[in-house]
């Protein structure tokens, strides 16, 4: 255990009392024999106390299963004393994977009376980078009154805990795609809904909102009439993530995977925050397919899927877009997040043309993998990379497509926060 526990006294008492007992018997000194007898009785009672103290104790953890990097997390432990005795000095050890420290020793000094429960709350922080970590197991430790014997019991309460990458608002995204709902806009369908675009007038039906009564028409007809409005086209955001293993480069915080996941998380969170329907598609070690949805819960699900991706796919980004093109509705925004600048520009032009012809607004974000530390293949020469970047910029500019190129030397947070991020190529 830790600094608090020692077996030195117990060992010493075994040795010293054994020696005193033998000396007492050999020399026929009753006081010495009685000293040994009393000492061993003390050890025996202490053993029973230590075991009994743990027998009817139970502990369980309550914690919200996800948080962002650097977030403070409150972990609640429910300590139940199901015995009739009062508990003192109960030590609990918990493992919280996302924290720097491997173990968190905690002390409930007591008293915790019999048939009682106490909630203990400790606060820690998600100090490790994004990923899925384990929380638990818990360990309960009690001792006898003299600290001679310690009983320990592991409680197999292990649960996953998701740490999401810290998200920053992508300022450039505000200027793109569908606008917030409930504002007059062209993107509507001609059927009854709740938008502010006026559709017509019809007879009042039970259940209609009285605020929608069209008073002039009601006066003309002599019967109540209500205004009808068109339905909004919900803003729609699609993200295609490139998880091709050929585009792996760099390590740790400076790697293409890190940039892809963080950029994806920021794009998804920003889009979801402004009310878009968001869907994410990718092909890594497994298929990343998040169906369209809105709201914080959906964005959280998207982050959960993103932190589990691995850059182990074999499907090129443009193939992925082609395969799922039909899932991108007209009038929406589709972002292509590539792990490399070296896309086939002819195919990219075709893909962008196909999307634009369907009324989809494409956005292209290229991560310059050659700016990261090469892992399994050589980085291309700097001049070649610059030429490719120029060619990509030219293509996007010519088609009027918003885009950005992200490199290892850039600070991702400040880069994504730039208001002219997607306008820089134009």
């Amino acid at each position: 255990m830790g600094h608090a526990h020692t077996a030195a006294y117990r060992r010493f008492m075994y040795a010293a009392l054994g020696f005193a007992g033998m000396l007492g018997l050999a020399l026929r000194v009753e006081a010495l024999a009685a000293l040994a007898l009393g000492g061993f009785a003390l050890l025996f009672v202490a053993t029973l106390q230590a075991r009994a103290g743990l027998a009817r104790l139970a502990v369980a953890r309550e914690v919200y299963p996800s948080a962002f990097e650097d977030d403070a997390v409150s972990v609640s432990l429910l300590l139940d004393n199901r015995s009739r005795r009062t508990c003192w000095l109960v030590e609990i050890r918990d493992s919280f994977g996302p924290a720097v420290a491997d173990r968190h020793p905690l002390l409930e000094p007591g008293p915790l009376r019999g048939a009682r429960r106490r909630r203990l709350v400790y606060r820690t922080a998600c100090s490790r980078p994004w990923g899925v970590y384990a929380v638990g197991p818990l360990t309960l430790t009690t001792s006898d009154a003299f600290g001679l014997f310690h009983a320990e019991r592991p409680v197999p309460d292990v649960a996953p805990f998701a740490v999401f990458p810290r998200v920053w608002p992508v300022a450039g995204l505000e200027k793109l795609g569908a606008r917030p709902s409930l504002s007059p806009q062209e993107l509507t369908l001609a059927r009854p809904g709740q938008s502010l675009a006026y559709l017509g007038v019809r007879d009042f039906r039970p259940g209609d909102d009285v605020r929608r009564i069209h008073w002039p028409a009601t006066a003309r007809r002599g019967a109540p009439a209500v205004k009808e409005h068109e339905v909004d086209l919900v803003p729609y955001f699609t993200l295609f993530v490139d998880l091709d293993r050929a585009h792996r480069a760099g390590t740790g915080l400076k790697s293409t995977l890190e940039y892809l996941v963080r950029t994806s998380a920021c794009l998804v969170w920003t889009a979801a925050s402004r009310g878009d329907l968001v869907q994410v598609l990718g092909e890594g070690a497994g298929s990343l397919s998040l169906p369209p949805g809105a709201g914080t819960l959906h964005a959280t699900q998207a982050l959960y899927e993103l932190i589990r991706v691995q850059q182990e796919g074999r499907v090129p980004l443009l193939d992925l877009v082609e395969h799922h093109r039909t899932q991108v509705p007209a009038g929406s925004t589709a972002t292509l997040l590539s792990g490399t600048m070296f896309l086939d520009l002819l195919r990219l032009e075709e893909t962008l043309g196909a999307l634009q012809s369907r009324g989809v607004r494409p956005v292209v974000v290229l991560v310059n993998k050659d700016s990261f530390l090469p892992i399994d293949r050589r980085a291309v020469r700097r001049e070649e990379a610059a030429a490719q970047a120029d060619a990509a910029r030219g293509l996007l500019r010519s088609r009027g497509v918003a885009g950005a190129i992200l490199s290892a030397e850039q600070d991702l947070e400040s880069e994504l926060g730039r208001a002219d991020l997607f306008g820089s190529l134009r």
């Binding site: 830790g2 000396l23 000094p109 429960r117 203990l120 400790y122 001792s143």
Partner: protein, 381 residues
């Protein structure tokens, strides 16, 4: 390695009380040995009480400086050397005393070990435990018990009781020091718990000594001219001892509370965090256990499985209602072999169409016993 420089609030009175208990143990053991073999004159007891108190105050307040100046390996080497030398010396001294059977030699040894006790108290803060003064006090108790009579009886009973109180306070202090400061009024509770455990032992020993007063070591030869110690002398000596102990304890309690500084340390892999504690609440009544009437071999297998689940709940395992038997088996903290076998037999018996065989029922019961034995096994540290 993090170093706490502030004495935790809750630990402060416990630390002071621990020092008092150690002082009381030291003084009691030294006085017992001195009264047994050195006459127990008032001036000797006074000197012993003052010397032990001063040594402990200096040791508790300045002892950390000595430790701070030594490296870990040097401390270990020093501890091993001192332990070996001291152990050898104790065995030699006791062998010589018993072999020679000279009361004068035993008196000199009592004096020598009293001086050693003061030295151990001076170095009390050196090392993780306070084993040195405790061990030396026990040697003094052994010396006193060789004398027999009231002195031996009081030395043994008092020594054991004070040792118990010291260990209890030491344990509480160590645990509190290992965690961040918090509110916990544990002094009274610690003394009550220790007292409750020690009371039957102390009462038992007292009755034993009252019924059968301990005899002295037969081999000891007393000088013919030596005056015998009367009961009044012994009673007066113990009265003085109580006064010295009270005065010394008050001095030590105040000094330790004023000057004592904590030097707790923890592994870098561990981070002790402060806890927010809510008020305790009543546990909800557990739902009544419905004992279904399982019959035949199918019933025996189901009973074996249900018994294992009951034991697992008792050990803190909480299966969720959504978990299947195989999910439960995967998470059960017990040997995988018997758990797997029992689960398969249970699933076949509970949900299968065929009546299990006698061999399967016996196998399930054996596996159940093996799993139950492996569950909730406490690990001693």
């Amino acid at each position: 390695m993090s170093e706490t420089t502030r004495v935790p609030d809750a630990a402060l009175p416990i630390l002071a009380a621990r020092s008092v208990a150690l002082y009381a143990l030291s003084l009691h053991a030294a006085a017992g040995a001195l009264m047994a073999w050195a006459g127990g004159d008032a001036w000797i007891l006074t000197l012993a009480a003052v010397a032990l108190a001063l040594a402990l105050i200096i040791g508790e307040t300045l002892g950390g400086m000595v430790e701070g100046g030594l490296e870990r390996t040097s401390r270990l080497r020093l501890r091993v050397t001192v332990t070996a030398a001291y152990g050898g010396f104790v065995i030699l001294a006791l062998t010589a005393a018993v072999g020679a059977g000279e009361a004068r030699l035993l008196g000199q040894e009592a004096l020598l070990f009293t001086v050693l006790q003061a030295a151990f108290l001076l170095l009390v803060d050196l090392g993780r435990t306070r084993l040195g003064p405790v061990a030396n006090a026990l040697v003094l108790v052994v010396l006193a018990s060789l004398r027999g009579g009231v002195v031996a009886a009081v030395a043994v009973v008092g020594g054991l009781a004070l040792l118990g109180f010291f260990l209890a306070l030491d344990h509480t202090a160590r645990v509190l020091q290992a965690y961040p400061a918090g509110r916990a009024d544990l002094l009274g509770a610690t003394l009550r718990r220790a007292g409750g455990t020690l009371a039957p032992i102390v009462v038992g020993l007292t009755i034993l000594f009252a019924l059968s007063p301990p005899a002295p070591l037969r081999q000891v030869r007393f000088p013919a001219a030596a005056p015998g110690t009367s009961d009044e002398d012994v009673a007066a000596a113990y009265r003085r001892l109580v006064v010295f102990a009270l005065a010394g304890s008050a001095m030590i309690f105040g000094a330790v509370r004023l000057f004592r500084r904590d030097r707790g340390a923890r592994s870098p892999l561990e981070e002790a965090l402060p806890l927010e504690r809510t008020v305790e609440e009543m546990l909800p009544e557990p739902p009544p256990v419905l004992h279904r009437d399982y019959r035949g071999r199918r019933g025996r297998i189901v009973r074996a499985y249900v018994h294992v689940l009951d034991r697992a709940r008792g050990a803190g395992f909480r299966p969720r209602p959504s978990q299947t038997p195989r999910d439960i088996a995967a998470h059960l903290p017990a040997p995988a072999g018997p758990v797997g076998a029992l689960t398969e037999l249970f699933v076949a018996a509970r949900y299968g169409p065929d009546e299990p065989s006698e061999e399967q029922a016996v196998a399930a019961e054996r596996a159940g016993q093996a799993v139950a034995a492996g569950l909730g096994r406490h690990k001693r540290i």
